[in-house]
Subunit: 440 residues, 2 copies
Amino acid sequence: MTAPLRIGILGLGTVGASVFQALHLHGTAIAKRSGRTMRVTAVSARDRKRDRGIDVSGVEWFDNPVALASSDHVDCVVELIGGADGTAKEAVEAALSSGKHVITANKALLAKHGSALVALAERHQVALNFEAAVAGGIPIVKTLRESLAGNQVTRVSGILNGTCNYILSRMELEGLTFDACLADAQRLGYAEADPTFDVGGFDTAHKLSILASLAFGTAIDADAVYVEGIASITPLDLVMADELGYRIKLLGVAERTATGIEQRVHPTMVPKGWAIAQVMGVTNAVNVAADPVGELTLVGPGAGGNATASSVLSDCVDIARGIVLPPLGMAASALAVLDRAPMQRHEGGYYIRLAARDRPGAAAGIATRMAEQSISLESIVQKRPPASRAADPTGKSGEPVPVVLITYATTEEAIRKALDAMIADGHIAEPPQLIRIERG
Amino acid sequence: MTAPLRIGILGLGTVGASVFQALHLHGTAIAKRSGRTMRVTAVSARDRKRDRGIDVSGVEWFDNPVALASSDHVDCVVELIGGADGTAKEAVEAALSSGKHVITANKALLAKHGSALVALAERHQVALNFEAAVAGGIPIVKTLRESLAGNQVTRVSGILNGTCNYILSRMELEGLTFDACLADAQRLGYAEADPTFDVGGFDTAHKLSILASLAFGTAIDADAVYVEGIASITPLDLVMADELGYRIKLLGVAERTATGIEQRVHPTMVPKGWAIAQVMGVTNAVNVAADPVGELTLVGPGAGGNATASSVLSDCVDIARGIVLPPLGMAASALAVLDRAPMQRHEGGYYIRLAARDRPGAAAGIATRMAEQSISLESIVQKRPPASRAADPTGKSGEPVPVVLITYATTEEAIRKALDAMIADGHIAEPPQLIRIERG
């Protein structure tokens, strides 16, 4: 056995403490597998006094993470600070520049500065491992970088944000509103005080941009991701989805199409029979379609100290075993620029819910606008809510009526044009709801 | 770039042809990822003239696989011959002994001779990769050996045989008998002319013994696997399972228990909500429970040329990248002897279907025998089939009545004793059906 791998941990929150504890409790078992002892020799966190349930005596303490990252007493730096810029970036750069391996769970950092950091790691011939940055405990990074290295990936899609999936699952199962479920998620610690980053789809977009790079051999391009969040989803949408055989999930989808590579994050109707539709609560799932393998689906815990620690440990073991691969699966210089498919050219089915004004000609007007754009309809459901029916049995009040249309495959552009025309016609009382359908 | 990795393929069936074709069509893309060109330089198969849809001109042909395995013109041998002994074993031994890397899809070979072959590979410091040997295109070998190397695995379970899952899925969905579905599976090429190896559970047992070794750091011990096949499952069992909220799957389960490591293969009732229950047809799935990650589930194609080729290619890329790990995740000398848990000590819930004689005292007698073994019942369902009810509305014929019992957790020993006593009492007209319940 060679000398122990000396690990420095930046950030001692739940993930950092869990990694520390696992190496402490199971170090011998892990060393049997990795062929090399690993030892946490340095840590850095904000508050030295806080009780984290771990014994850091005998471990070098750094108040300054960047100083730890540059220390000669460490071979491998685990960055768990977070944030796309600032200390995390400085520390990772310092570690790589001084020839240390880096493990990070920081998707925001990679989404924004991934290409530069990857090149820096390669220049210093060190590892930059980030299994924990995407889908928590699910080993999707290694699966794309290694297990599918002989495949041509055509699509990666997944539930990559546990907060959103928790909210949508509860909305569906209990018929609650988005706001009520978000408040619960915040109370339970599944959502931040400012939830925008999660429910707005931005966290999913960061993760997706990393997966797309691994899948397609392209430089990370998070700016090219089309992003919609879940705040507009209503209980009625979930009921309609159920009736039509779908569930609504916030999916990240990266796909090779005739017009380039699409990267998009939006609420999505997925057929109930699809493996991803079964994934409820804070669990994550990733589906990969590739040739020759066909389809693989990986399901597991997407967040939390333990799940994330598992991925960090996997990255540690790789380094202890001497495995140093190009972080994005091929040399940084070999990564192509992402050929961005314009969202307007996206093709697929659509769920459209309209609040149609209840007056003569509205239905005909709506149908005509769809026909003008050559959009074929698979289903049309017009449903007055029971309460409205009871209040106005003859339907003379003119109160808007929800109309749901499911289209066959068409383009985003055609849908947008049809909706704009309907709005201009005055047939619609509220902004239309539009949810893309993914048929798997 | 270093010199190309020279690959020799033994066996040009659908998998071999698919590997050959993928390297031919996508060699450049794969080389970008692996950092080294791979070239098939030698092949061996039975019939040189057969049209396989691939162009083997310019590739060295060997009539004798063992001669290829010893050739100086090859760096890496892909063994796709199959069989636990004979040519496959000879060729793999010859390749390893002459310092060549070996990739094999041969679970029977590994189940029987894995420990010896692994030691041989280590002695010659070459890779012995076998991602394709378990669960086809699902990267479960790398997941256990690498991604979960920092975890303590407590249980691995899965649907590891597509033939059995296809048969059970069709029986369930269409209400057909085992024999009818088996005949269909044979017609469609999903089952062999002699199906014993698949439907008897032996193929699953081979794969499970490999997974258990990777999961628990123990030497492969296929003889220690308890095996039951699916031939005894009836349409009535599937109907009852459905009513009680379960599906029936042939599972392989390897689990660390208080009495040692259980390895068992048998038809299993799994709750419908469990991810594995959703897996239908020839698809495979593996679930791993481990600390700290929690639970991971991987779903994908379990067989077929393309899926298996994907795993072979992954193994090739690892070798081209210079990754040579201990095949079972730790040095052969560090593998423990498997501490075999006796099946009699297995604890879990049971589904028991009895053909109870329709006579006074039968129900009481059955209940007494269960109580004597301290077995608590979660459900009791007594159901005369509609046809029998119609023929004999008063129930005076004495025709046996199906009684289904679902027990709370108990031991295999207690169940066996209770059933033996009931049989001795003469309350039961046919051998009882017993299906273990896995609650996930």
